[in-house]
């Protein structure tokens, strides 16, 4: 099991990193030929950074659009953030102070995350509009995240696993050393699904995480009269004019 999971995690990490890098490269290289910020928009770069921060941290546009959904999304995302911070200790030799400080909150984070996932899933059943736009892949990701949460919670609450050994395994992977992973079925499910999520990430709607930073309606400054904005392919059309 140790070898299988070691290989799985190396593959998953490679796919995750290479897949994301390829997508981010694509988003960077494809030009935005026109100024299309959704106005009112900031007039300066600093303003854009602030607008983007509001979108990423407090989901400003979603708040304008749908209050219940905003709550559900916030539950899930902030819960997930706390859970991820709690899990950071598996990847550091000595746990740094902020991570140590936030450890206890990770448990509440898990509860928030699961509540968020349940509510997000319920919407897709209960509301006809949302049911209409929901496809199998939307369910796949919700179920995947729920199972990761449930298997993780099960290990915390009922079927404790040897987390010292898990940490040793993870640190070993980071140093290209093979250290034994506990042969625990719940742990295997948990880690297997996480690896699957990492592999799916760059090919799925989870691309919203890096993608939002490239969204021209949110990341452009409103200064088209002051500064001429021309991309490379559009500039070629200028040649020969006058």
């Amino acid at each position: 099991m140790t070898t299988a999971f070691a290989i799985l995690f190396y593959v998953a990490t490679a796919v995750f990193v290479a897949g994301l890098a390829a997508k981010i490269a694509r988003y960077t290289l494809v030009p935005a030929p026109l100024k299309i910020p959704t106005t009112p928009a900031p007039l300066t770069k600093a303003g854009v950074v602030f607008r983007m921060a509001r979108e990423v941290v407090v989901f400003e546009s979603l708040f304008k659009g749908n209050k219940p959904l905003w709550i559900f999304a916030a539950l899930f995302h902030f819960g997930l953030l706390l859970v991820l911070i709690r899990h950071a200790r598996y990847f550091m030799e000595t746990v740094c102070a902020p991570v140590a400080l936030l450890q206890p909150f990770g448990l509440y984070g898990a509860l928030l995350m699961m509540a968020g996932l349940f509510l997000l899933a319920a919407r897709r059943v209960v509301l006809p509009r949302i049911a209409y736009i929901t496809g199998p892949s939307d369910w796949l990701l919700l179920v995947l995240l729920m199972l990761i949460g449930v298997s993780g919670g099960a290990m915390k609450l009922f079927a404790h696993t040897d987390i010292i050994a898990v940490k040793a395994f993870m640190l070993g992977l980071m140093h290209l050393e093979m250290r034994p992973l506990p042969a625990d079925p719940v742990l295997a499910v948990h880690l297997g699904l996480v690896a699957l999520l990492m592999i799916i990430f760059p090919f799925s709607k989870l691309l919203h995480a890096p993608g939002i930073f490239f969204s021209p309606t949110r990341n452009q400054t409103d200064n088209p009269r002051e500064r001429r904005h021309v991309c490379a392919w559009a500039a070629k059309l200028d040649a020969g004019r006058e």
Binding site: L62, S204, P224
Partner: protein
């Protein structure tokens, strides 16, 4: 009115009920397909090409590599549904394919099938679909039921703008020889005659002469509407509807009075006798650039120092946001003024510095509401601060009329609703969707008519004005209820020597 459809019943705009899904409700509401002559005039294939399928996939790949918006928006939608109840066409018709995400998915399903690994390997899982002849028909139908108003993009947590997707779809359809008659015929007229309405220079001159006589009869002032005057300070580029019909033309009279009283020399241009740029509607950069080039040429030839745009929503988006990109730089103009300026920026500045004087009693007994036009609200700006596009028109209206009332906040400013006729839908065969798409605006208007005695609604967009003039009677209101902002200025401005 003997129509085949029912006008929606108006409810309370503050408690809009969830529309019931009626699949296929607008599946048969089709624009007319462009005739070969309309297509060929723009360099598009005369009719649907034989090898449409490989060509379509090639075109999609090309657009994905040229427009970051399209590439990013195709990937990052999480189907959260925040947009689903935001489109006026969905609210008015209940057709689920008028929900912004579902409209995008008509395009996205094809993108996934041909451009993503998941769509190639497990199409059923990720909603990837084969491109078929029926796909094109569905695209033609539903991408001409989007007015590119960008309201959905305000509420999307990632800023996904359905307008970008519908522009891309229309560009592909055009390149395949399956364009829309309304847009393509009008663009042809711009190239051939100089404006969307196809008014030749002689007719323009006639109209203008008549207007000058009317103004002099009304005010006793010899207000001129100069045309093709070399050396004027300002080139005014305005939608051709301003030369043609009320209430547009009353706005044009307003601009003329403002320039006259402020002592600013100005001119219209027969070459650039149209502010609108339908190249945006069809998502075609080259067309948009070609149409914008007329303005550049006119400004050079007439040796003007400033360019000012008249009241036209989509025109202002292209002018404000794209003109510098398309045909800049404008370094031959007076650097003290932004290029271009909106007529409302000019008028507001003159009101503030006393360059013109207004008397509200000129609009006695009028209670105004103001309809924020979608492309001005969400695709452009006025003045030097974000949101100036909301403040400046209201300042000018408040200076011109006794009372201005705000409509329901969910329907104004950046959350404003499209009039129902924008983005290439202002054509008679789409009347049903235009009437139904106007529902949310009509609800908000009815509320202030009933509760605050609103008598008129001002607009600063030629399409809004034409659309409301047409559809207001369906909701039991007078067609003349919609007025130009500069029509109000025209009624209030004190003519003659003010000193």
């Amino acid at each position: 009115m003997a129509e085949k459809f029912e006008t929606p019943v108006l409810g309370d705009p503050t408690e809009r009920p969830m529309p019931v899904l009626i699949p296929g409700a607008t599946a048969d509401l089709k624009s007319y397909v462009a005739a070969p002559a309309h297509n060929e005039a723009l360099g598009f294939p005369a009719q649907l090409v034989e090898d449409w399928k490989p060509k379509a996939i090639g075109l999609m790949g090309d657009l994905l590599s040229r427009y970051r918006s399209l590439q990013v928006f195709m990937d990052i939608c999480v189907k959260c549904g925040a947009c689903t109840d935001k489109c006026h066409y969905f609210i008015g018709t209940g057709d689920p394919k008028n929900m912004p995400v579902a409209r995008q998915d008509l395009f996205r399903s094809i993108y996934r099938r041909y451009f993503t690994p998941a769509g190639k390997l497990v199409p059923g899982l990720v909603g990837a679909k084969e491109l078929t002849r029926e796909t094109l028909d569905e695209w033609f139908n539903y991408f001409h039921q989007c007015s590119q108003c960008r309201r959905c993009s305000v509420f999307c947590p990632y800023g996904i703008d359905t307008a970008e997707v519908s522009m891309a779809a229309r560009e592909m359809l055009d390149q395949l020889g399956y364009g829309q008659k309304y847009c393509n015929e009008i663009i042809g007229k711009v190239h051939k005659i100089g404006n969307n309405l196809g008014l030749p220079p002689a007719a323009l001159a006639d109209t203008i002469e008549g207007l000058e006589e009317d103004i002099e009869a009304e005010t006793g002032c010899a207000v001129k509407l100069p045309i093709d005057v070399e050396g004027a300070e300002v080139l005014l580029v305005t939608p051709s509807a301003d030369f043609f019909a009320e209430p547009h033309v009353l706005g044009l009279i307003g601009y003329a009075k403002v320039f006259h009283q402020a002592g600013i020399s100005w001119t219209l241009s027969t070459k650039a006798s149209e502010a609108g740029n339908f190249g945006m509607f069809i998502g075609n950069y080259a067309q948009m650039k070609k149409i914008a080039t007329r303005i550049h040429e006119a400004a050079r030839e007439l040796k003007v120092k400033r360019i000012v745009f008249g009241e036209c929503g989509h025109a202002w988006r292209v002018a404000y946001s794209f003109l510098n990109t398309l045909v800049g730089p404008w370094d031959f103009l007076d650097p003290r003024y932004p290029v271009p300026q909106h007529i409302l920026e000019v008028t507001n500045g003159l009101i503030a510095n006393g360059g013109i004087k207004l008397d509200r009693s000129g609009n006695d007994n009028m209670v105004l509401a103001f309809h924020d036009s979608c492309n001005v609200a969400r695709g452009a700006r006025m003045g030097d601060r974000p949101g100036g596009q909301f403040v400046i028109p209201r300042e000018v209206i408040k200076a011109s009329v006794p009372k201005l009332v705000e409509m329901c906040p969910d329907t104004t400013h950046e959350k404003t609703f499209c009039c129902g006729g924008g983005g290439g839908l202002l054509t008679d065969e789409l009347l049903e969707i235009r009437v139904k798409g106007a529902k949310p605006r009509m609800e908000a208007l009815k509320q202030v008519v009933d509760s605050q005695g609103v008598t008129h609604m001002a607009s600063l967009c030629a399409i809004c004005k034409a659309q409301f003039t047409k559809i207001l009677p369906y909701y039991g209101y007078d067609r003349e209820m919609v007025v130009s902002v500069h029509q109000l200025v025209s009624n209030a401005i004190i003519m003659g020597n003010n000193d």
